[in-house]
Each structure stands twice: as C-alpha cells, then as structure tokens.
C-alpha cells in the first residue's frame, strides 16, 4: 500500500506551541481569583488519628475552609482496581505523606501557614517496612482484608520433570527498588463550575474518563456532573494514571462553588505520588546442553506500599512476562504483592516488566556462560517465533520480531572493533551486554476498549473525537495520521478534539503502550462507519445503488461510471447534516485462568533487543554507558521520529534505572538527592526500527512506549558483568555495589 500520511516525517502537531512556550501546563492555567489549596500530610508512616484541632488554623487571615474526611459526600476511597486509598484519611494514616486535611485560602502563603497550625494528634502503630514481614501470619494489618493484595500463578507443563531433564541449572535472587517517574512538571491544576454547572477539573492526566469516575464517586455525583479536561502534560510514565490532585480540587470546588487551584511542590510529588514497585525475584532456569530452555521456576514478591493502586496489575503482568521473549515448555511462576507502610507503588513504564527483564536477561547470560555459548546465540535459539506457544498457552500467529531485533543487534556487535582496555587506564574495564524483552500491548486479560468518532459537518469541517490523553508521547499526531490516511484528506484538514469528558468518549488510559494500537483501531472503525454512511447518503443524492459506490481519497466514487465522484464534504453539505462514524475497538484477549494463568492476555506483543557498551572504573565503581544499540519491533512506525524519540527517552530512563535511581521513603526528597541521568550521563543511542507488521494493528502498528525502556538496564547490567567478571543482582548498580562486585571478583 502506498501511504501518504503514515510512516513519514512530519512535525508533531503540538511541537510549535511547546517550543514557543505557549502550551499551558497545570500551573500556567488561567483562573480568575482562585482559592489556593494546600494539603496537610502525615509525618508518620502508620498511626491512628486521635484528634484534629482546626481553631488556630482557621484563624489565619485569608483561610476560607479546612476540609477533612467528614466533608466527603461520597465514597472516600479511590484506586484503579481495588479501591482502598482515601482522599483524606479519616481515622488512620498508612504512609509518610497520607493526606489528612485540605486547606483553602485566598493566598498560597495563608494556606501554608494554616497547614502548619492544624494540630493532629497521632497514636503510632507498628510500621511494616518489608513485604516478607507483611506476610507473616501475625503481622499487624495495614488493611482489614489482610496484607496480601494479590497472588497469581502461571503454570505450564511440569517444572519438576523439566529440571530433571535440564543439563544446566542456574538460580539467583534479584532485587529492584523504588523509582520515581520524574515527569517534567509537578502536578498542578484548577477546578471550577463550568457554564453548565458541572464540577470541571483541568489538570495533567493520563486518563480523563477514569478521573471522571473517581471524582463522581467521591462527590456522589452523576458522571455527567463532572467534567475533566486534560491540559498540556509533561509526561506521566504511569504516575498520572492514578488520581493525584483531581479529587482534592473537586472536593473544594464542590463545597466552595468558586474556582480553586493547587500546585504541588516537587518535594510533594516525590513524597505522595506512586513509585515503581520494588520486586524481589527468585529465578531458577534450566536448559539443555544445546542451550534450549527447558524449565523456569520464578517467585516474585512485590511491595505495593500503603495502597493497592496498580499492585495487582504489576503482580500479574510480571508473572505473565517472567519467561522473557523465549519459549519455555515448563513454567511455574508465583507472584505476590504485599502491603507495607512504605510509599505506595503504582504504574510505572512497564508495569513490572523492566524488573522481570533484569532477572530473565541476567539468567540468560548466566546460562550462556555456563554453556560457553554466545549470549546472542542462546537468545536466538530460544526466542519466540510465529507458531510458538507462550507460558500462558497462547500461540503467536504473527508479528513476532524478536529474532529480527537480535539479528540486527548481532550485525552491529560483530562489526564492533574488539574492545581493548586502555593501557594508560588499567583500572577501566570495558564490556558489552545484551538485553531482550517482550511486552504485551494493552491491559492483561481484561477488556480494554477504546472508542472514537469521526464526523463531517455541512460546513465542511472534519472532526476527530478521541478521549486519548497525549502526554507528550505524540498520540495527537499519530491518531491524526491514522485518521487522515484512512479517510484520504490531509492531516491539517482534520480538527482534533480530545481528552475532555464533556465532548469525547472513553478511550481508556494512555498506558500499557496501547493507544496507537487500540485507539488507532477505534478510529479506523469510526472511519469505516463514516464511509459507510457517506456511501448511503451519496447513493440517495446521486441516485446510484450503494453497491456501485466505493470510497477513495476522501471521495465517494462509482465503480461503473468513472467520472462520477463526490467529495465527502460535498455529501455533508448537500444532505445538510452531520455525517458521523462511531468507532470502537477492544483487542481479542481471554480472561486468564485464576489457578494456572493460562489464556490469551494480549492480542499482540512488541519485542526489542538492546546492546550496551560500558566502561567500569574498577577503582571507584563508576560506570559509564558509552553507547546503546536499540533494536525495536514496533509493527509499523506510524511516526518514525516519535518512535525514535521514545527509544531515546527509554534508554535514558533505563540508564537511570540501571545505575542510579533509588527512591527511599522519607529520605529522598527532591532532585537534590534523587539523581536521574543528565545529558552527560546518557549514552549515544543508535535506534533500529524493525517493522514486523501486526495484522490486527492500524497499518500494522503495535506500540513502543514502554518497550523502549525495558531492555536497557538488563543490557547495561550484562555489560558490567562482562567487564568486571562479576554479576550484580541488585538495582541500581551504584558506586558501592559495583565496587563491591569488583572486590568480590578479586577474592574469588
């Protein structure tokens, strides 16, 4: 197919307003004389609230009102799946940062002063710091239903038999820690009653329709009385999938009936938004002498912190992805997620898969080492292909590009000049490492539909409606490209209306790398229906049988009479009504068996392989990543620059995950002590785009957002292991751990 809009280099549609500083982020939103909101938070990680005294705080000049849990008219619990997180704690706080009161004042200063004058008397309860501790039979309960949020298994074949047949077995334990999303701007937004009296919230978010449901439930209002509008959003990475400021804003606007505004500080963002789940992964792999994997047994224990958020999702997704992109006939995975009194964990780019990839890719290298095999060869030998069956029993029928990504990386590696250590700097050791991954697009084994509309009005305006939140990754551009390609008009002829619950319908979350694939398909469906109604109308206008008409390049044409054709706009104008196509798409998946995890969790998977070149200073433990070759099977790159942008950003984030990012509740407070890579720390990236088309994807596309990050840390850690001859099992590989490994190697 010759495509005009897809796969070409065009600027992102929002690029100018962002480059010029005109885009309005949360803190830039204009708002007439708003009241300022400030949250009072718990200083302790687990305590009963004995009493609160507001008198002094209320006397601060400028203070309008102080809200507590008592002021919440509806359900004071939110959460994406399990609703267990209060908007304002009523009787108990469960982590350092739990919100207990919300102050509204005429100035930010007054709100802050009042926050300091609220007296809260706490009675400390024992805190649980480690998930193992949480699961002890007599551990104090963090939530009444128990400290185990979820346990999930994937069972296939017979692992006992598998390990008996194995000729080499490696078993290790891997740990990872909390990571902050470090999105660009602290959460900020406004709320007011719109012209129809709806509670309206304008804020950064990854899912306006989810926010709407939570706010409606908290305020006990019908859905249509709540309106969420997404403002320019400087990234989310999963941190904006949960509600952050939405319900606080809504609660105040609901009671005060006047505009309100909240702006988090960066310190607040660090303290109170979700983090990547720390996982402890015990991983045993068995292989035959030829390198073929025969069995894996994996035990995963995660820390969801004080609240559920996406803990269940992460437990399930990490179990489902435990094998890595490889065929393994015998699989046994147990995955558990426990509550603790730590900061709450939530969605973060990859939902547990980056942690799992660190483990399975370390295991692959250990097997290769034990078998004296080349790391790429052992991966090629085991990798999934068309016809392979996954650990959940799904047979892959198309678009399995893992082998191709490996081959592309191998070509590069074989070209690399032999790594010679610098004789002038004998303490610098160089290494090369490989990391591969697979990633299921969309939610795991549950419905995750998207909807969209496309319409043409009699005045000739062509409109695309989507609920999709573009958080900087570029969905506005990609969805417009898909629409313009499918309908046959140029991109700038289509007006995009998006991410406003009053005018768009539910597209689901901008997460799980799903929007290009799922919402792209919903738009194609809308256009199919729009074309159909255009043909119907044209048939009447032209008095030609519908079957003789077809759609091409924005026009309805006749098959028999080559000169008969009528442009879409003309049809709408002549029949004097809006032509509309409704669309929806829900990928074909099945529910996973609750005992064995068997089923079809995703309709399609993305695949990738990275190669990292590192230098390790063996006297200080400092690692420099010099270059990453990043090869990604994305199905089809609708917007190649966007794909490359995702890969670049993914490698940067992966470098931080590998080497330095380490959130510690109560200790790491801001970018002063939470380090992420700077431009001097990120490697040169050579992106390689592999296009193994997905037949069910829009123009063959899958997704790349999360896959971009996942293989970097495993590749870097494998490269470090090669450089120093000793493996690191705990992330991040900071100065102390790397030096420790060097010393261990010397002792051995």
């Amino acid at each position: 197919m010759n495509m005009r809009q897809v796969g070409i280099e065009i600027p992102k549609v929002d690029v100018l307003e962002k480059a010029l500083g005109e885009a309005k982020y949360g803190a830039d939103l204009p708002c007439q004389e708003p009241l300022h909101l400030k949250v009072l938070r718990s200083p302790t990680s687990h305590a009963k609230i004995v009493r609160m005294q507001m008198e002094k705080a209320l006397r601060v000049s400028g203070v309008e009102r102080i809200f507590t849990a008592k002021d919440i008219p509806g359900k004071n619990l939110v959460g994406t799946i399990v609703k267990d997180q209060p908007i304002l704690a009523s009787d108990r706080v469960r982590y350092i940062g739990d919100a207990v009161a919300l102050i509204a004042a005429r100035t930010e200063e007054a709100a802050e002063e009042a926050a300091q004058k609220v007296v809260v008397v706490y009675e400390d309860l024992p805190s649980i710091i480690h998930p193992e501790e949480a699961l002890h039979p007599h551990a104090p309960l963090i939530h009444e239903k128990g400290n185990l949020l979820l346990e999930f298994h994937v069972i296939k074949g017979d692992v006992q038999k598998g390990f008996k047949e194995a000729e080499v077995v490696v078993e290790e334990t891997y740990t990872t820690t909390w990571v902050d999303h470090a999105y660009l701007e602290p959460d900020a937004g406004i709320s007011y009653l719109d012209e129809k009296g709806r509670i309206t919230i304008v804020c950064p978010t990854q899912n306006v329709h989810y926010d709407q449901k939570e706010v409606a439930s908290v305020l006990s209002l019908p859905l249509d009385q709540v309106r969420i509008i997404q403002c320019s959003t400087g990234g989310g990475f999963g941190g904006r999938l949960d509600v952050t400021i939405q319900c606080l804003l809504a609660l105040a606007a609901f009671h005060l009936k006047q505009p309100v505004r909240i702006v988090y500080s960066r310190e607040e963002v660090f303290q109170v938004t979700s983090k990547r789940h720390p996982l402890t992964i015990r991983y045993k792999s068995g292989a035959k002498k030829d390198g073929k994997l025969i069995a894996i047994e994996v035990d995963i224990l995660g820390d969801t912190g004080a609240y559920a958020s996406y803990g269940g999702t992460v437990a399930i997704r990490s179990a489902v992805h435990a094998t890595g992109p490889y065929q393994v006939p015998n699989v046994k995975v147990r995955s558990r997620m426990a509550y603790t009194n730590n900061s709450w964990s939530g969605a973060m780019r990859g939902f547990g898969v980056p942690q799992m990839a660190f483990a399975h890719e370390s295991q692959m290298d250990l097997l290769a080492q034990a078998l004296k095999m080349d790391p790429i060869e052992i991966r090629l030998k085991n990798c999934l292909r068309v016809g392979s069956e996954t650990a959940t029993g799904q047979t892959l029928t198309a678009s399995v590009g893992i082998g191709e990504t490996l081959k592309k990386v191998k070509e590069w590696r074989d070209k690399l000049s032999l790594l010679k250590d610098d004789s002038k700097k004998p303490f610098i050791k160089k290494g090369v490492g490989i990391g591969s991954m697979w990633y299921g697009i969309g939610n795991t084994g549950i419905a995750n539909p998207s909807t969209a509309q496309m319409e043409i009005d009699p005045d000739g305006e062509i409109r695309l409606f989507t609920g999709v939140a573009d958080i900087g990754q570029g969905s506005d551009t990609v969805l417009l490209q898909i629409a313009s390609e499918a309908i046959g008009v140029s991109l700038d002829e289509i007006r995009l209306i998006r991410a406003d619950t009053a005018v768009t319908t539910d597209a689901g979350a901008t997460s799980a790398s799903r929007q290009t694939y799922i919402s792209g398909n919903a738009i194609l469906d809308a256009i199919k229906n729009l074309k159909h109604s255009a043909i119907q109308e044209a048939s009447q206008l032209l008095n030609i049988d519908e079957n003789d008409l077809f759609f091409e390049n924005g026009k309805v044409k006749s098959r028999t009479c080559l000169t008969t054709s009528i442009p879409l706009r003309e049809i709408a104008k002549r029949c004097a009504k809006i032509l509309k196509g409704e669309g929806s798409f829900d990928p074909e998946t099945t529910k996973l068996d609750p005992q064995t995890g068997q089923g079809v969790p995703y309709a399609t998977y993305a695949f990738a392989t990275h190669l990292a070149e590192v230098e390790v200073d063996t006297e200080s433990g400092k690692v420099s990543v010099n270059r990453v070759i990043a090869s990604h099977d994305v199905g089809k790159a609708i917007h190649p620059q966007n794909v490359i942008g995702q890969i670049m950003g993914g490698v940067a984030m992966g470098t931080g995950f590998a080497l330095m990012e380490e959130y510690v509740p109560g200790e790491k407070t801001s970018f002063v002590n939470y380090l992420i890579p700077t431009s001097k720390d990120v490697p040169e990236v050579i992106p390689i785009v592999v296009e193994d088309k997905e037949p069910t994807g829009p123009f063959g596309a899958k997704g790349v957002g999360e896959p971009a990050l996942i293989p970097s840390a495993p590749a870097i850690l494998n490269a470090i292991a090669e450089a120093i001859g000793q493996r690191i099992y705990d992330l991040p590989a900071n100065l102390e751990r790397v030096l420790g490994a060097v010393q261990k190697r010397k002792l051995a």
């Binding site: 930010e108 002063e113 303490f427 890579p677």
Partner: protein, 285 residues
C-alpha cells in the same frame, strides 16, 4: 514558603560592612545564591535582610601582584575556569572550577560562596588548601587575613562572624615546573555533589618529591590537608610502591577524622585509589 526579607544592593565594600553591622546578625549575604536560595527554600535560613554583593566591582576581579594571584569573592566558577592567569598559576583550582555543577551553576556560583558555605564536598576547597590560599576578611571592626585552612569549623560552619565579609582569596603563583592535579568522583557526570575530591601539588627534583601538599574533600567533616601522607612523601623517591604506602596514610587520616562508618568500606579503597590517580595525573600533565 520563603518568609519576607529586605533586599539590599550595595555598591561598595564599606556600604556592605555598614549594612552587615546594622543588621546585628540578621542579614545574609547573597552572591550567586546557588546555596543560599536552597537554604531559604527549605527553611534552614530565614534572614530578615539579604545583601547582594554582586555589584561591588572590587570583588569581581582576578589580579596578579608580583608573586601572588588574588581572586575576588564574587568571581564565578566559569570565570575562574576560563581565566588565563588562574590556568597558568593555579591550574588545580581552574580545573576544579570547571567541573562544578553545570554551566548554569558555574555561571552564577562564586568562589566566595563556595568557601563560606563550607560544604565538606565543596570542590574549590581542596585546591585552595593545597595552594595555601589566604582569605581576606573585612568588617566594620577590622580587616584580617586568614589561612583558608583555618576558616572551617565543621560541616557548613566557618569562623566568620555574621558581620564579616570575605573579599578575596590569594595564593602564591605556582611555578611552571610545579605538578598539580584535581580528581573528582560523583554519582553522575554533572550536577552532583562530589563523593570524593582530591587535590595535589608537588615538585619533583632529581626524582624526589618536594613541597608536596595533599588535600581531600567529602570524606571528613571539613576538607583536610593530609599531613601524614605529606610528611611521609616529602623528599622520597617517586615510585609506585611509595605511592601505595602513602595512600594508606591518606585513608588512615580519613578514618581517624571520621571514624568507621557504614560507608567506610567503600570510601577507604576509593580514597586511596583516587589519591594515587591524582599523583599520576599530575605527573602526566
């Protein structure tokens, strides 16, 4: 929220001294503000007057006088890093200045601020200590010269009185044959405080070490001269084995000053290695 304060912009040293005197300890000097503003924001500092000294021309100069080089207190790290005279006569200092923070920080952060903030990890301090730098301090009461090494009382604490102004740092120009180097380690390659920083200055005469000065930062409460290692090396023949032994003296001093801590098992071998590295780097340059 930063509490309100008065903001004064004097044009002369005298005016500044007056303002400081009148404020009776309630004033804070601001130069680049890259340390002070953080303190204001997190509540560590709440002065009622802030005195901006960046308009005082006298404090902005780098001057050569006979055998000394003086640097005004508000000279920025960028200026030091690119100054031909500092590069010629005190390269160990210009090298350190060029590695501080990021271009933005170097463009506003000053050497005076770096000294008076007295962070154990401040990057210009080990170089200034091996240069035997002197500070000139002025107040309404008196004017005095202090050896920089004596200025520090503890982490973030100096001997300066609240009404005193540091106006200048000076040191004897290094001869071209003098070897020197600065070595730094941090958790990332920009915008990160030093995990360790080492400065050395020495001469080699007939393959023997002469006039050696070693200072290490970030591992003791204030940056320290490593006098044990200095005495050990003075007059000795420069050999790999000797450096190794001297490096043990460096880590001994560190442990004596800071005690054994959880981080010691990391810091001990690394400070030894970085010291040797600094010596070798000086010899190569």
């Amino acid at each position: 929220m930063i509490p309100p304060f008065e903001y004064k912009i004097p044009n002369t040293i005298e005016e500044t001294c007056d303002l400081l005197w009148k404020a009776k300890g309630k004033a804070k000097i601001i130069a680049g503000g890259t340390d002070l503003v953080i303190g204001l924001r997190n509540g560590d500092q709440a002065p009622s007057v802030i005195i901006d000294i960046t308009r005082i021309e006298q404090l902005r100069k780098i001057e050569e006088k006979n055998s000394t080089l003086s640097i005004g207190a508000t000279v920025t790290h960028s200026e030091i890093a690119s100054s031909p005279s500092v590069r010629k006569y005190g390269k160990v200092l210009s090298d350190a200045a060029s590695e501080i923070g990021s271009p933005q920080i170097r463009n506003v952060g000053t050497i005076g601020g770096n000294i008076v903030n007295a962070s154990p990890a401040a990057d210009t301090l080990p170089p200034l200590m091996v240069l035997n730098a002197m500070g000139r301090v002025i107040s309404k009461e008196e004017e005095r010269q202090v050896p920089l090494a004596q200025l520090f009382k503890g982490p973030y604490q100096t001997q300066l009185k609240p009404h005193e102004l540091l106006v200048q740092i000076s040191f004897q120009k290094l001869h071209p044959e003098v070897k020197s180097s600065f070595v730094r380690l941090a958790r990332r390659d920009a915008m990160a405080i030093a995990r360790m920083n080492v400065a050395v200055v020495f001469q080699v005469e007939q393959s023997r070490i002469k006039d050696i000065r070693i200072a290490v930062g970030s591992v003791t409460p204030t940056p320290q001269r490593m006098s044990g290692a200095e005495t050990f090396l003075e007059g000795e023949k420069l050999e790999e084995k000797l450096l190794k032994k001297a490096s043990l003296k460096v880590s001994e001093t560190m442990i004596r000053q800071s005690g054994i801590r959880p981080s010691t098992s990391y810091k001990q071998p690394v400070v030894e290695a970085l010291f040797i590295r600094a010596m070798k780097k000086a010899l190569e340059e």
